[in-house]
């Protein structure tokens, strides 16, 4: 007998062949280019800032309301001294002071306010701070050049107070206030606006609150991200990394499936190649493919920092092995192209769920934590969004490693059994 062929030689040969097959398959190439180009482009097109200030339009302005109320009360015989007290120490302090995160813009005409909220008129803030309204529905109305460079103010909520509002509040009467909201404003915010008006009215009427808050008012547990909210662009980082790995799962599953369907595994098995060589080669190729592309996309969307690169590489490696394992299961299971597609959807759609839970906070049910991709996504979110380090991540890291180990063993066993049964 001749000298046995080394494992390195056999592995090298299979890997070279896999690379050739991969490079020549138009579907694989399409998936790769999609992952690299399209996702990166999408990332940079998504807004990277979060608008934290809610702008509320009111009508009439506080100044107008105060003046009108003072005139009215004076006519009813209120002393000048009392009126000054109302104007300076109560009314102005209670209602004109804008709170953090809330900007109040006064629009004198209620119709204009309604149209701006509705979208048929646009509101602009000029360089000198003056506001100007532009009617988009007016015939032959060309937008003035000064507005083209001005900042457009989004007004999603408008409060229309009646002219007797303050008088009614002070004298213990009742008043109806109209709230205009854009259709896109969530119901919760609409209700919050009602609460805002009630609170303001309560204070103007001179009532105290039956509850007190500590000086800090709100105690933030964990990191206070006020002023540093996570933008949609940042939220996309883990999602895009996961998408790239999923696309590579399709490609890898297809590569394995073609070996099964064309029965080339049978031809390999009568050579000095052992089945272990085949499984090792598929593991290396799948992992390298998913890892390199995932890392490249993360690099192109600026996810690596001097502090996180080693941790992020490790997590991406775990993710690459996880999805290669899934590819082995899918590739071995499908009996034809449609079968493979069905299995691919069956396995990959649930794996996407944890990533969407990141985009839509509050939607994740507790069972999502049992999805194999959950700890991987959890780690990615921590590293790429919240800058978590090793110390805070041992739990998810061990959980992720456990899932990777379980799925990898299952993937190997299924593919081995398939190869031996052909």
């Amino acid at each position: 007998m001749n000298k046995p062929v080394s494992s390195i030689t056999i592995l090298g040969a299979i890997l070279k062949k896999d690379l050739q097959s991969y490079a020549r398959n138009k579907i694989y190439l399409f998936l790769t280019l999609l992952g690299l180009g399209f996702f990166v482009l999408i990332f940079w097109l998504i807004p990277d800032t979060v608008e934290e200030t809610i702008t509320i339009g009111i009508t009439p302005s506080f100044e107008t309301m105060i003046e009108e109320t003072a005139t009215e009360l004076k006519a009813e015989g209120m002393a000048e001294k009392e009126l000054d007290f109302l104007k300076e120490d109560i009314l102005e302090e209670e209602i004109s002071g804008e709170e953090e995160g809330i900007e109040i813009i006064a629009i004198e005409d209620e119709k204009h306010l309604k149209s701006i909220v509705e979208g048929s008129m646009e509101l602009y803030r000029l360089e000198d701070g003056q506001l100007e309204i532009y009617d988009t529905t007016a015939k032959n109305a060309e937008k003035p050049s000064k507005l083209k460079e001005a900042e457009q103010v989004d007004l999603d909520i408008g409060l229309a107070f009646p002219h007797n509002y303050l008088t009614a509040m002070i004298t213990g009467g009742k008043s109806a206030t109209t709230i205009y909201t854009d259709a896109a404003v969530p119901p919760e915010v609409q209700e919050a606006m009602q609460g805002f008006v009630r609170e303001m009215s309560f204070q103007i009427a001179g009532h105290g609150y039956p509850v007190e808050f500590p000086d800090d008012e709100l105690i933030i547990l964990g990191e206070d991200r006020a002023g540093a909210q996570v933008s949609l662009q940042e939220q996309m980082r883990p999602l895009l990394a996961l998408m790239v790995l999923l696309l590579e799962t399709f490609a890898m599953a297809s590569l394995i499936s073609s070996e099964v369907l064309q029965r080339t595994i049978t031809a390999l098995r009568v050579t000095p190649m052992k089945i272990g060589h085949f499984l090792t080669a598929k593991t290396i190729f799948g992992t390298a493919l998913a890892f390199s592309q995932g890392v490249l996309v993360l690099a192109l969307i600026g996810s690596f920092t001097a502090d996180n690169w080693h941790f992020l590489l490790l997590v991406m490696f775990l993710g690459a092995v996880l999805f290669t394992s899934v590819a082995m299961i899918i590739g071995a299971a499908g009996k034809d192209f449609m079968g493979q597609l069905m299995y691919a959807l069956l396995f990959t759609v649930p794996l996407m769920i944890p990533a969407f839970a990141v985009l839509l906070p509050g939607t994740a049910a507790s069972w999502v934590q049992f999805i194999p991709s959950y700890p991987f996504v959890d780690l990615l979110v921590g590293i790429t969004i919240y800058e978590t380090g090793w110390a805070e991540s041992w739990g998810p890291l061990i959980y992720s490693f456990s899932w990777v180990a379980v799925l990898y063993v299952i993937g190997l066993l299924i593919l081995k059994r398939k190869a031996e049964s052909l």
Binding site: N2, V5, S21, P272, K274
Partner: protein, 287 residues
């Protein structure tokens, strides 16, 4: 040269409860071509799968080049070549790349793949993707792949099945060249004529059992009828006479008719492998 390259003793294999191979025994010597003749489902391919290590023997002994089969044995695998009935080639790769890849699995650093392709008439299309090949071209590539490591034992499963006569003849020529090189060849086929042309010995396999094993000549002699058919012109008619050679007066009668001016043709009447197979099993080879 007395050591058999393939040595099978009382080999059986079951698929569940179905006994696909039933207690078969045979040997193939170096340079010998053993034709495995039998209809579909007779157990030919299963025997090859066992001998090439794809299946573990159910019972009995199966050796190739003196080594037990049934487990992964890279050293033994390096010495064998297999041509499968199904054309399991890498379609997206060229013929040259297919051969180079398999050569590298055998540890051949500088394979002469072009020469191997030239041998089967594919040199001019060496760099074309196999996906663009015809069925006959793919089969020639399968043969070429089986020979790439210059194997000492070859397993050829229906190597000319469904091919045109010219391509089939080319492949038979290459198989004979390999036999002359010294390779022991186990050839499965249900083409009686091919087995007759190529094989040094023939084994009839039916329902997992070997029902006859000998040279084609011996089988014909053993199971066929020795006779001569003579055609004569008789006026405006043509008459035939069948003379059985085992008859005592046969030689006298043949001489008599041969001397006749009315003699048209004399043909020996040999049994075909197909007719012998039907005689032994009660079924045809194409079944």
């Amino acid at each position: 040269m007395n050591t058999p390259s393939i040595n099978v003793q009382e080999l059986s294999y079951w698929y569940g409860k179905l006994k696909a191979v039933n207690n078969i025994s045979f040997q193939v010597m170096p340079g010998e071509i053993l034709g495995f003749l039998g209809p579909n489902g007779a157990g030919k391919s299963t025997t090859i799968k066992v001998l090439t290590g794809q299946l573990k023997p159910g019972s009995g002994k199966a050796q190739v080049l003196g080594r037990e089969v049934g487990k992964e044995d890279p050293e033994l695998q390096a010495q064998i070549g297999v041509c499968f009935e199904e054309k399991n080639l890498y379609l997206e790769m060229s013929a040259l790349e297919n051969l180079n890849f398999f050569a590298s699995l055998f540890g051949i650093k500088k394979p002469d793949s072009m020469e191997a392709l030239r041998r089967v008439g594919l040199a001019e299309r060496a760099k074309d993707r196999v996906n663009d090949y015809s069925k006959g071209m793919r089969q020639r590539l399968m043969i070429s792949r089986a020979f790439i490591n210059k194997p000492r034992v070859l397993f050829l499963d229906e190597p000319t099945s469904g091919l045109d006569p010219v391509t089939a003849a080319e492949i038979r020529r290459v198989i004979q060249e390999e036999s002359k090189r010294g390779a022991a060849i186990l050839l499965t086929t249900h083409n009686m004529m091919e087995a007759d042309q190529l094989s040094h010995r023939v084994a009839f396999i039916n329902e997992g059992e070997i029902v006859a094993l000998d040279t084609a000549e011996n089988l014909k002699l053993k199971y066929g009828q020795r006779a001569v058919r003579i055609r004569l012109r008789n006026g405006t008619k043509i008459t035939e006479e069948l003379i059985t050679l085992d008859n005592d007066n046969a030689s006298t009668r043949i001489a008599e008719l041969a001397a006749s001016p009315n003699l048209l043709t004399i043909h020996t009447e040999e049994a075909t492998l197909d007719s012998i197979f039907i005689k032994l099993t009660g079924r045809g080879l194409e079944g």
